[in-house]
Assembly symmetry: C3
Homo-oligomer: 333 residues x 3
C-alpha cells in the first residue's frame, strides 16, 4: 500500500483505497470456485468493494499493476467478458494484449500449450483463458509459470461470473446467508450455473435449480441444491432469480420443444413478477434474449440488477487481478 | 487547466496548451453539425488548433483524459476513422477499447441498445458510434448516460469529417467567410456531403454541389447550396474543391454509366487544375480511388491538402473528446 | 537520459539501464541485415542486453518512448511477431495501433502507399511492416518520413528474427566468432534463413545450410555459406542448429516427397541429439510443428533455447525501437 501511495504522490485520484485487507488469499491462479473456501471468496468480494469505490471517481485508474502484462487468450468468441477483463486490467494500469484463435499461430498448427508458453515467454504476468474444453485453463496452470484466470472452460466453470453474481446479491441484500436463489434454464450445459452454485452455497445461500428435465444434469443430486422442473412451483420462495441464457449458438440438437414453450414455462415476465416476492432480485448473465428468458419490462424494471452485474464484473475482475499479482504472492520479494 | 498543469509537474512535453477557451460549448454529445451554431463549431476548431500544436511536440501526449474510457462501437468496417479516434483518445491519455460487430454479442442476438448499455455499464465515458442506420447514435444518446460521438450514421452525418474539412480550409486560408467550395460526386448517399454543407455554410462559405443528376438528392433545394451538373461550368469559381469518394462497395445498382465517364466528367486532373484558380485547395475524404475522383498528379500535387486532412482529423477529434469530457460538462464537480 | 530520469522521479523501477552506449547507429529504418555492419549489429545486441535486464524487474516498463506511436501494418496473418512488437513498444511506454489488411481501407481499393501515408499523417513515429512482397518495406521507406521496420517481406528478410537468433546464440555461448551454425530446412523460401545468414556470418560464425535440393536456392553459391543435403553428414560439426519451419500454409506445390520422409532426413530427434556435440544449442523460429522439424523431447529438452528466443525477441525489438526513436536520430532537436 505504501509503495503505491508513494509512487503516485498520494494524489486523490490515483491512491489505492484504504482498508483492503487481502490476507486470506494465497492462490496463484483462479481456475474455479469449487476449490475456494468461503473465506477466500469473501476476500475477493471485499477487495472488489474497494474497487467499486474507484469506479465512482472521475479518474477511474490506479497504478497498482503498472508494468504488468495481462493477456486475453480466447479460443471462443467473446466480447463482453474479454472487454470486461481488458478494462479491469487497464484500470489497474496493466498493459493488455488480446490473443484470439482466428488468424493466429493456432491456424499454423501450433499446439495449445505451445501457443500459451510462447505468450508467457513474452513476459506475461496473467493469462485470462477461455476455451471450449473443460480443464483447458488447469492444463496451462500445470505447464506455465504465470497466473491463469479461467474465463470459461466448456460447461465446467466461469468463476468470475459466479463471483460477480454473488457480489451483486450481497450488494443488494447485504448478505447471502439464508437467501433462496433460483437458477433457471439450461443447468446441464452452463458453466455459469456451476460457478454460481459453488459461490452461492459456500456463502450460505440455498440454491434451487429449475429447468426442463433435459437441461438438468443427471449428476445434480451430487450438488447441494434443490431441483425443480416448474418455475411457478418455486417462484414465491425466491429472493433472487438468475435467468441463464439459452445459448442458441451452442445448441445443436434441440433439447426443448420450442422457444415459445420455453418462454411460457421458464421465462420471467410481468405476470410472474407480480407473483414473486416484492423485492425479488433479477439477474441474467447476458447477453439476454429479450422475450425469451425474460420480457423487456422485467429486464428494464426496478427489480433488475442486470446492468449492475456488468459494472460489478469490472470490480470483481480488478480484485482477482490484484490478488493474483500483488507483491505478496510473488515467489520472491 | 490548473489541475492538469499540477498533475504533470508543469513540464513542457505534457502541459496543456494555454489559451484554449472553450466556454461556448455546453453539449454532452456530438451527433451532427446541423444542430450546432457557428459559434459552437468555431469553438471546436479553436480547441483543435491548440491540439495541432501538441502534435508537433516530440512527446505528443497530454494527460487531460487520463482515467477516462473511450469505446469505438463500430457496426460498419472502418480502419481510418476508427484508428484516428483511437489515436486521438490515446494522445489525451484515455484508455480505448474497440468493439466491432463481428465476433461480438451482436452475433448472439443481443439488441443494439443492450450492447451499448452493457458497454456503458463497464464505465465508458465516451462512445464513438458508426452504424449504417441514420439516427442510430441519436438513439443511443437518448437511452445512455455517457457521451456519444457520431462517427457516421448511414447517409446522414459524419460530423468530425465535416469539422476536419472546415478546419483544413481555415488553416489554409485563414477563414471560410466568402470562399466558394465545390462538393463533387455522390451527394445523395454521402454523410460527408451533409456534414460539410452544415459546417461550411454556417461558417460563411458558399457551397456548390456538383454531380450526375442521379447522385443529387431531390431534397437539395431545401439546402442552402447551389447545384451544378457539370464540373467544368463551376470550376473557375472554386476556392476549394472537395472530391467525394465513389463508394464502389456500397453501390449496388449503378447510378452512373461507367467509371471512365465519371472520371471524364467529374474527376480532377492536371488539365482541369490549369483551368482552376491558381491556389485552389483540393480535399478528398479518402480512401481515394486514384484515377477516378482525382489523378495521382493532383492527389500528390501542391494544391492537395489530403494528408493535412488526416493530420487535422486527429486534432479535431481530440478537441471533440476534450470538450465532451472536460470537468465543466460533468453533472457534478 | 536525464530527461527520462527526471520525469520518473528517478525511481528504480522505471529508470533506464545505465551503460547502454548506442553511438554506432545512424539508421532511420531497419529494412534488413544485409546492409548493416558488424558493429551496427553488435550495437543492437548490446542495447538489447540492457533491455533484458529490465524484463527481469517486477515493473517491466520504461518511459523512453512515452508519447511516441508505433503502428503494426501487417498484410500477412501473424500473431507472434505482431504481439512481440506490440509488447516491446508498450514496455517502452509507446502507444500502439494494429492495422491489419482485413476490414481495412485496403478492401476499399486504396493503394499500399496511400494506406501507409494516411497512417503516417496520423502522427506515427515507427511503422512495423509485414508484407508478402519482397521490398514492400523499402518502398515505404522511400515514400514516408517515419521510421520503417521490416517485420518480414516475402522470402526476402526478417531482420529482427535474425537479430534475436544471433542474440540467443551469443547469450548462450558468449560469442559467435568461430561457431558453426546449421540452418536446416526450406532455405529457398525462408526470410528467416536470409536474415540469419547475414547476421551470423557478419558476427564471425560459419553457416552451413542444409535441406532437400529442391529447397536450396540456385543462388546459394553467392552466399558465404557451406551447403549440405544430408543432416547426418554435418551434425557432429554443429555448435548450433536452427530448425526452420516447414510452412505448410505457404507450400502450394509439394517440394518434398512426404512429411514423414522430411522428418526422417532433416528432423531433430533424440537419436540425432546423441550424435551431436553435447552442448549443441537448438533454435527454431516457431511456431514449431512437433514431430516434424523436431521431436517433443528435443523441443522441451535441455539443449533447446526456443522459449529464450521468444523472450529475447522482445529485448531485441525494444532495442531496435529505441535506436530508431531516440532523440539523436531525429532531424532536429
Amino acid at each position: 500500500m505504501n509503495e503505491h501511495a508513494a509512487s503516485t504522490g498520494g494524489e486523490e485520484s490515483s491512491s489505492f483505497p484504504m482498508g483492503i485487507m487481502a490476507s486470506a488469499w494465497s492462490h496463484k491462479h483462479l481456475l474455479g470456485l469449487e476449490d475456494l473456501t468461503r473465506s477466500e471468496i469473501e476476500t475477493i468480494l471485499n477487495v472488489a468493494e474497494g474497487f467499486i469505490e474507484i469506479s465512482r471517481r472521475r479518474k477511474k485508474k490506479v497504478p497498482v499493476l503498472n508494468g504488468k502484462v495481462v493477456v486475453n487468450l480466447f479460443f471462443e468468441p467473446s466480447t463482453r467478458t474479454r472487454t470486461s477483463f481488458s478494462l479491469s486490467a487497464k484500470r489497474l494500469s496493466a498493459d493488455t494484449i488480446d490473443f484470439t484463435s482466428s488468424g493466429s499461430s493456432v491456424s499454423k498448427g501450433e499446439s495449445f500449450i505451445d501457443t500459451a508458453k510462447n505468450l508467457e515467454a513474452m513476459g506475461v504476468d496473467v493469462m485470462v483463458v477461455r476455451h471450449n474444453v473443460p480443464g483447458a485453463p488447469h492444463l496451462l496452470a500445470k505447464h506455465l509459470n504465470c497466473s491463469i484466470i479461467n474465463a470459461g472452460d466448456g460447461a465446467h466453470e466461469h468463476p468470475t461470473q459466479g463471483l460477480l453474481d454473488a457480489f451483486t446479491i450481497r450488494q443488494a441484500r447485504g448478505r447471502l446467508d439464508g437467501l433462496t436463489v433460483g437458477l433457471i434454464g439450461d443447468i446441464a450445459h452452463s458453466r455459469v450455473a456451476r460457478s454460481n452454485i459453488h459461490a452461492l452455497t459456500k456463502l450460505g445461500a440455498k440454491v434451487i435449480v429449475c429447468g426442463p428435465p433435459t437441461l438438468i444434469p443427471l449428476s445434480i443430486h451430487h450438488w447441494n441444491v434443490e431441483v425443480a422442473y416448474r418455475l411457478d412451483d418455486i417462484l414465491p420462495r425466491l429472493d433472487v432469480i438468475n435467468l441463464l441464457r439459452i445459448q442458441f449458438e451452442r445448441q445443436r440438437s434441440r433439447l426443448f420443444p420450442s422457444i415459445h414453450e420455453y418462454a411460457a414455462l421458464y421465462g420471467m415476465n410481468g405476470e410472474r413478477l407480480r407473483r414473486s416476492k416484492k423485492d425479488i432480485l433479477i439477474l441474467a448473465p447476458g447477453p439476454i434474449n429479450r422475450g425469451i428468458e425474460l420480457t423487456p419490462d422485467v429486464a428494464d424494471g426496478q427489480n433488475s440488477a442486470i446492468l449492475e452485474q456488468v459494472t460489478n464484473g469490472l470490480a470483481v475482475r480488478m480484485a482477482v487481478l490484484y490478488l493474483l499479482c500483488r507483491p505478496q504472492t510473488q515467489p520472491a520479494a
